[in-house]
Subunit: 408 residues, 2 copies
């Protein structure tokens, strides 16, 4: 089954938003073993949309539109699909009632234009919208399946997952399963080189590397018949890759460095504290992004000024060595653990830029101390690019070294 | 001039990445007054790409491709454009030299396949790539302009800005200028309602509202001839909107709540400290995202555990009132300012979920204290949706109330 996704909306063509709907749907369709051959974006213009629909009708079995289901005159996706398929628009009383009910319960003034959202191409399966006023629809015609979805991700995503997926799964013959291996501490080209032969002999599963924000992922994708055991095909390839790459593979699928660290802390019964200067709370933020982190994360001190380093962490190294120094990173960690009930900790101090760099201490220089009360290690790092990237890279490095400290 | 953007790459169709290149280019083209009517994404497949090119050739004057310029067999954009335009591929010795030079300087092993990146459709303007190995190209044929760009944003963006923009500007008759008004503290529909008449009578500039992550933006877009004064058209409309909406309009263009707060602190000669529980460092992270925030931001204490609240901030209210209470928020702020040299501060405590909610203290309940040593105010907030959204909403609220405290 070949699919294409048609995004409707001038805000996409003006670049006000990225087409994350197409990304979301593509991921989901790929999991179902449905090939997506095209994405198209077209504005709120009936003629152009109709020409795009005509093209899609010719080359695809499954056509998904996103956006253009609002109450205004500009919103014309449903009407244009109906016109293209030569189907009349008919009122769905149930949808009208639930739109009225929603407006009533939220005490919004109901405008007549909202009634428009209760009309659908004749014969459509209607997809109720729990998160907005625009229901979606599925229309079958001439051997094609048209799925009409609202644009806002918080409406589209649950509607697709809960209503469209089950509809499509009934007809799918093959299913695609993916497993993503998460890698930190080795670049993309070096990873590719190390597993060159595995990449070359790949067929089912395929193995696809992707570099993103300082990390590398390997996506293993297997195509199998419904009911077939995907893990039996994925497990040996994962084992082979792990054997080759070692502990730079830190997790799978939804794992990130913070969640793996939290899990490891919990497993070992240890607790964590952080002292941050240049990362300014980013490491703490990443740690506390993880639900349940309060079990093991005790505190994070963002000692941004020298006075705060001295008052909160009793750091006395700044006059002699500078705020950005190996000695200050170590003193921050020691001061942190002296005043905290946490078992292990990390301290980060560096120059994130754009100002503050010198010849001997350039932008991107970051000292990261990791350890416990008995011992610690200070890493000297040189990160690159802009303030955001330097802070992000420093945070990932810190999380990874904490994870490795626990694994020792 | 009508443009369309063709993204080439299976990673887009698999949903591994969003098509942010199309978003970036659309924004830039819109600023140049060039209408973008279509985005298309197609995989690494010569036949499908050729059919997409044929369609684009028919309906657009400017056709921009992104991606598919790498050294591997899969990368076929340049070759396919050449074939479609019936142009031979010719070697550019300068590009070949600079690719060799790059590999040499980075001590990468040079593979023969990289030579491919130095071949271009005959007659192309070659766009050197300072950030990668794949140069871009511009080809003029049959009254159409083809721009061929690499996929990675860190290569595409500067190549477009520094080389393609000047090329296009020479031919542009109209220019589009945009100004974005940033709004916090009022919902999208309420904003629209308040300026309904302004929206209705809009023509040049147009005014387009957009809601995003707890904020609302109004984009004013004006189309004028080269050299005409865009500000003279934008200023009166901005003034009218500000007059209507008041101080919920907190900034323009690249301003965000944190950068506006930092600017206001700097202007008033004040310094800031933060105490965070449920936001876990997010507010500090947002503040320190702003370059130069070290001038005014002193410290942030992420007192996640009750012990940290007591040890670091001398909070004694937890046994009686609980960690999530008006009293604890106030005590956190008082303890923070007592031990800090900052002039003003904020403290945040709440339940971000997914666990920890009760009937009387549900998920999303957050207390936020804002003030100085003389006085403060504690806000009781109920935020919605998931952990990420609740934390984000609490952080924005905190930044906004700090901004307003300074404006008093």
């Amino acid at each position: 089954m070949n699919a294409e996704i048609i995004g409707v909306g001038s805000e996409l063509l003006l670049g006000q938003i990225a087409n994350t709907d197409a990304q979301y749907l593509s991921q989901k369709l790929s999991e179902l073993g449905i090939n997506v051959y095209y994405h198209t974006v077209v504005g709120d213009n009936a003629n152009r949309l109709k020409s795009v629909l005509a093209l899609a009708h010719e080359r695809s079995d499954l056509i998904i539109t996103t956006g253009g289901l609002g109450p205004t005159m500009d919103d014309l996706t449903k009407e244009t699909v109906a016109e293209f398929l030569e189907l009349p628009m008919v009122l769905d009383q149930k949808s009208l009632d639930s739109i009225h009910c929603l407006f009533h319960s939220r005490k919004w003034p109901m405008s007549h234009s909202n009634d428009k959202q209760a009309y659908f191409p004749k014969g459509a399966v209607i997809l109720p919208n729990d998160n907005g006023t625009a229901p979606g629809a599925i229309v079958e015609k001439d051997g094609r399946t048209y799925v009409i979805l609202p644009g806002p991700p918080n409406e589209l995503n649950p509607m697709f997952d809960q209503q469209v997926m089950p509809y499509l799964i009934r007809n799918a013959e093959y299913v695609i399963h993916s497993r993503v291996l998460k890698i930190y501490g080795r670049g993309e080209s070096s990873v590719e080189e190390a597993i060159q032969d595995i990449l070359a002999e790949q067929s089912n599963p395929t193995v696809a590397p992707l570099a993103k924000m300082g990390e590398v992922t390997l996506r293993l994708t297997v195509r199998c018949k419904k009911g077939e055991n995907a893990d039996a095909l994925l497990d040996p390839v994962e084992a082979k890759i792990r054997d080759r790459l070692g502990d730079v593979v830190y997790g799978v699928d939804d794992d990130d460095l913070a969640s793996v660290l939290i899990a490891s802390l919990r497993a070992k019964g240890n607790t964590l504290a952080l002292a941050e200067s240049c990362t300014g709370g980013l490491v703490s933020k990443m740690v506390t992004d993880v639900p349940g982190s309060s079990d093991v994360f005790r505190e994070g001190l963002v000692t941004y000024s020298n006075e705060a380093k001295s008052a909160r962490l009793h750091v006395q190294t700044v006059p002699q060595y500078g705020a950005v120094s190996e000695e200050t990173a170590a003193a921050m960690l020691e001061g942190l653990l002296a005043g905290s009930d946490a078992d292990i900790g990390a301290a980060v101090t560096g120059i994130a830029g754009p100002g503050g760099g010198t010849d001997t201490k350039p932008i991107g220089l970051v000292y990261i101390a990791v350890g416990d009360r008995d011992s610690h290690h200070v890493y000297t790092c040189h990160f690159h690019r802009d303030r955001g990237r330097i802070r992000h890279a420093a945070a990932l490095f810190t999380l990874d070294k904490l994870r490795r400290w626990l694994d020792k």
